[in-house]
Point group: C2
Chain length 127, copies 2
DNA sequence: TGAATTGTATAGTGTCTGCGAACACACGAC
DNA sequence: GTCGTGTGTTCGCAGACACTATACAATTCA
């Protein structure tokens, strides 16, 4: 399970990790029932403390994507987040699109990029 | 200038504010040369300390969108952020799209939403 | 020049992040 | 059943960060 941490990213590390795993789940690269790697292993790979990884797993559990079982491991349980307002979802999308525009990309190029990303997102997915 | 703070949003308040203003600039609702409202006024409107607003303005200045002048006010100077890697821009977009998918929206609906947002983004814009 | 307006600096308080070490649960071997 | 190994959890701490209150400084304009 390949995850990378971005030092420049101002989100806390545990949330970066949670987000990356969310992406893997969304793409179907981590299917329901799959075990996530042990927190110690991920911590070792990334050079972090195991508690940082554990925090990421709890984050995912809180959103209903993962079930963490004390002593047994963490498992993907769903490909659906429990609940999230449509408005919040749009807000994040709107913000990322605004940033593309502020970077100077023309509308056509933004549309191209978005289409590429959507295609990637649904490449593996069965749904 | 209408800005709202989302208590549930885990980004710090000053960055929420900066992001909202960035959106306004990206859409052309705040044109170059326009003065931002004084930090005290925004602080009063939102029930925050003026330093929080000042932090948001500095954030925008750091990205090259705004020029803050001591004693005179803050002004929109550009509709282009100074520099940002293509990879970072895509990362944010990818994440927001993944969240839409995790919310259970089918591909067609995601595409519809994205198109709506892109249209909104370029509604006023001259570029 | 002086009052009003605008951003800045500094210090204090509480929260959040990430870490280290010790703890507790699960599961398979025997 | 029990023990060893593997797995997550708890607790406490240090440092960084977010937000506030208050005092300061630059600008503008009558």
């Amino acid at each position: 399970m390949y995850i990378t941490i971005d030092e420049a990213d101002r989100r806390p590390v545990y949330r970066q990790i949670a987000d990356e795993i969310k992406g893997l789940i969304a793409r179907g690269e981590l299917e329901e029932g799959t075990a996530l790697p042990p927190v110690r292993q991920v911590a070792l790979d990334l050079g972090l403390n195991l508690n940082t990884i554990a925090a990421a797993y709890r984050e995912l559990q809180k959103e209903g994507l993962v079930r963490v079982r004390h002593g047994a491991g963490a498992f993907v349980t769903s490909r659906r987040v429990s609940q999230q307002g449509d408005a919040d979802l749009r807000k994040a999308l709107r913000s990322s699109l605004a940033h593309l525009a502020l970077a100077g990309l023309p509308r056509t190029e933004i549309q191209t990029i978005v289409n590429e990303e959507i295609q990637q997102l649904f490449r593996v997915r069965s749904q």
